[in-house]
């Protein structure tokens, strides 16, 4: 598979996952806001913004409408949900002969639908519903991908992109709720009962959690569930396992040295998550654990680029200059 194509598939999947995650966070926030007082609500917004890695979490405007526009709809803000949808579609467009027509037409239709929405109209109605629709649209895209595309190497790059993105997004969100306030970090009040429920909902995990632990809301159990549950698709461990198995499939024909670099890092991350216990985390602090997960994900991303996408570019550039000077 062409390296450029692999790169576009990988980013298409990452942006789609990011868009779905953003839409879900906003939707939960908008629904919760209706039942909350001003202080609670503004604390909730700050958490959401931090969870979304919004570039300016201390934005002067605390007006929910302004925030929703900025992080949900503003195409000038490259980290908004809308920008993620546009970027997913643009990447799909660059490889549209590689993905199925069904995938392309679905993401293209979603793009056309969303970019024609008027924000004033969205806000005057039920804005949460708009974000439910965006999330559903992405889920459908992921489902169509599973059902219509060959599960070959291109699909593995899509899986890799989806789950590396998810591992990072979930780890970052957990950090907002579970890490103790630090001097240099943002200061959040200790989460209350509803905050914990919102966290589960923001990970689509409320029902799944209840099935495992009953409806007893205990922060430690929630942390255990969202980090370690091997069967829940939005747990860190689930995502890490998928990253590892996608990397095993990718580029079977590539030189062993290059494959080994990626496999080693993915294996290390998997072992790190598999063999750390909740007791250890409780003793050592959750923040260093989550920070390490994030760092290792970035290292895997870098290794994938070096092994499969940008390999040998410098040598080639050098040899081309040479040919040119000789010629």
């Amino acid at each position: 598979m062409l390296s450029r194509v692999a790169e576009s598939l990988y980013w298409m999947a990452r942006y789609a996952e990011r868009a779905e995650h953003g839409a879900r966070l906003l939707r939960v926030r908008l629904e919760a806001m209706v039942e909350q007082g001003d202080i609670e609500s503004s604390e909730g917004w700050r958490r959401t913004l931090y969870g979304l890695a919004d570039i300016s979490p201390e934005d002067p405007s605390a007006d929910p409408r302004d925030i929703t526009f900025r992080v949900g709809f503003d195409r000038m803000n490259l980290s908004s949900t809308m920008s993620a949808v546009v970027a997913a579609r643009d990447n799909a467009r660059q490889v549209r002969e590689q993905i199925s027509s069904e995938m392309w037409e679905h993401i293209n239709k979603e793009y056309l639908r969303l970019t024609s929405l008027d924000f004033d109209w969205v806000w005057s109605g039920n804005p949460a519903q708009t974000f439910i629709d965006i999330g559903d649209g992405i889920w459908m895209f992921q489902g169509i991908t599973h059902s219509t595309m060959r599960h070959g190497e291109g699909f593995d790059f899509i899986e890799l992109g989806t789950y590396i993105e998810r591992a990072q997004l979930v780890a970052r969100l957990l950090d907002v709720y579970l890490s103790p306030a630090q001097d240099d970090g943002p200061k959040f009040a200790a989460p209350g009962y509803f905050d914990w429920i919102n966290l589960l909902k923001q990970c689509t995990g409320f029902e799944a959690y209840c099935k495992v632990y009953t409806a007893q809301i205990a922060p430690r159990k929630i942390a255990e569930f969202l980090i370690f549950d091997p069967e829940f698709p939005h747990s860190v461990r689930f995502a890490v396992d998928k990253v590892q198995s996608a990397l095993e499939q990718i580029a079977p024909g590539a030189p062993q040295t290059r494959r080994a670099a990626c496999a080693r890092m993915a294996g290390r991350l998997k072992a790190f998550v598999d063999f750390t216990s909740m007791d250890e985390i409780a003793a050592g602090g959750i923040q260093p654990f989550l920070a390490s997960v994030l760092k290792q994900c970035e290292a895997i991303h870098g290794a994938v680029y070096e092994s499969y996408i940008t390999y040998g570019r410098e040598e080639q550039a050098a040899s081309q200059t040479q040919t040119q000077t000789q010629g």
């Binding site: 598979m1 467009r93 056309l112 580029a251 079977p252 081309q320 040119q324 010629g327």
Partner: protein, 507 residues
């Protein structure tokens, strides 16, 4: 089909002319929804002078006379939606943002009889055979020039002549393996060649996309009309490319090379690559290693054998052609010249679709094949000849004047539609650089019915058939019919407000 409807045609007593079996339903220029339809001395594809439809158009005419206009509107809308969703669009760049627009498609098919098509097809095959021999000749022995068939300066001084191609071996002599020839009908209704496109002709994806939507819009009519199929084009193209592969490569790797997602024909590139099941590559995906062209894959470098390129000559290889090209591949031409990779179409073909060389094509057909040209040319005045220049300058109001090296409808003057001032200004340009211009009489392209704002109106059209030449030469029946959607306009290029239609060649 000639059953007369007494309500629709009270004057039906007049005898039909010799194309007697035509149909008479809603009369053009009289009955709704054909009341705005103009019939004059211009050849009309659908109607005869007596307002009867031609026999092969009668079933369509009957259908259009009976369907409610709202129903046709609904089908037109659903066709446009389908194009938009599939992303069959070209990009228009504005000042702050770019928008993707669909190329307007008119739902009403353009219909050609099988008998007439067979003759056209023979003419096209003859023409591409002669043009390939001509290219092999000018980049080889140069016989036609030595024998005085064509002036040397016209060939070797042409803007698109590529001296790098001299002496390069081209597999099967197929310099042109994918050709799009633009045909028009003259006032007598005869097909003539307007221009050859021998470099990177485009539009074939629209031909196939139009067929998809029109077959869906008129399923019963399509079925009963027995239309010749065109869906095999991608397979035929793949076979053509495969037949050009370097010897000894049993399973040649064929790729389609695109300038990238910002190219206006990008949709077509992705479409053809997907339909043929080959990789779509950009220049940055290819590297030259040990005299071979390779593509960069996740598993390492893999050799490429045939490149169907959709980028211009200038951009192929910055070491040989334009040094500032970022789209091309350094060293690619060297591999090609050695025969390690095949590039289709060959480089340097532009010399043979030059508008001045065009005037010599009938003579070239005679010279190389010993046959008379089956498809005629439009009469052409070469401004490089002083006498002809004099005539052109004196008759600017009657002529279409074109710059020799340009395409896409740019750099031309349509005399009868230009203002006096524009004619004077253009005349100065021609005088300053006569070798760069040719002129042709204004031919009123034939017209066909189009669905416009709830009515059927006549619009000018042309036809671009696609010819493939490899181990054998094949033409898919019909081609892309382009439409000048603005009333009275003769310019069909999509960059200038043109649209397109499905083309039906009947059995």
């Amino acid at each position: 089909m000639s059953t007369e409807d007494p309500v629709l045609s009270p004057e039906a007593i007049e005898p039909p002319d010799d194309e007697a079996a035509g149909g008479r339903f809603a009369r053009p220029g009289i009955d709704e929804p054909f009341d705005a339809y103009v019939l004059d001395q211009t050849y009309d594809e659908c109607f005869q002078a007596n307002r009867w439809s031609r026999p092969h158009y009668a079933p369509l005419h009957e259908l259009l006379s009976s369907l409610p206009v709202e129903e046709i509107q609904r089908r037109q809308l659903s066709c446009e939606q389908s194009f938009l969703h599939q992303g069959i669009t070209f990009t228009v760049y504005g000042k702050d943002s770019s928008t993707e627009k669909i190329i307007p498609t008119d739902l009403l098919p353009r219909i050609i009889t099988g008998k007439e098509w067979d003759e056209v097809e023979r003419g096209l095959k003859q023409r591409i055979a002669a043009l390939n021999l001509f290219l092999a000749d000018i980049y080889g022995p140069g016989r036609a020039v030595k024998d005085g068939i064509i002036p040397a300066e016209l060939v070797y001084g042409a803007k698109h002549f590529r001296k790098e191609m001299v002496g390069v071996e081209v597999p099967r002599g197929a310099y042109v393996s994918v050709c799009g020839t633009d045909l028009i009908r003259d006032e007598a209704g005869k097909f003539v060649v307007l221009e050859d496109n021998l470099r990177v002709p485009s539009g074939v994806s629209y031909m196939l996309a139009n067929r998809e939507v029109v077959r869906r819009a008129f399923p019963a009519l399509f079925r009963s009309s027995r239309v010749r199929p065109i869906e095999r084009y991608p397979q035929l193209l793949l076979e053509t490319l495969r037949s050009l592969a370097p010897p000894g490569r049993e399973n040649p790797r064929i790729v389609l090379m695109t300038p990238g997602v910002f190219n206006s024909a990008y949709y077509e590139h992705t479409f053809l690559a997907r339909q043929m099941g080959i990789e779509l590559v950009e220049g940055r995906d290819l590297v030259v290693q040990d005299g071979m062209v390779c593509m960069r894959t996740t598993s390492g470098l893999e050799r490429v054998d045939v490149i169907y390129r959709r980028i211009d000559d200038d951009f192929i290889d910055p070491l040989v052609f334009r040094a500032d090209s970022v789209l091309g591949v350094p060293g690619l031409f060297g591999c090609y010249a050695k025969g390690n990779v095949v590039i289709a179409n060959a480089m340097g073909n532009g010399v043979a679709d030059d508008k001045a060389v065009y005037a010599y094509v009938p003579a070239l057909i005679k010279y190389y094949l010993g046959e008379d040209a089956i498809l005629g040319n439009v009469e052409t005045y070469l401004c490089r000849e002083p006498k002809q220049l004099e005539y052109v300058l004196a008759n600017l109001d009657k002529l279409v004047v074109k710059a020799v090296g340009e395409s896409g409808g740019y750099g031309m003057l349509v005399g009868p539609h230009a203002s006096a001032q524009e004619r004077v200004e253009f005349g100065e340009k021609v005088k300053a650089d006569p070798e760069n211009y040719i002129a042709q009489p204004t031919i009123s392209l034939s017209r066909a019915p189009c669905f416009i704002d709830g009515k059927f109106e006549a619009r000018h059209i042309d036809l671009r058939p696609f010819i493939l030449a490899g181990a054998e030469t094949v033409v898919v029946p019909g081609g892309l019919t382009r439409v000048a959607l603005r009333r009275g306009s003769l310019v069909v290029n999509s960059s200038q407000g043109g649209g397109s239609k499905d083309t039906w060649v009947l059995e």
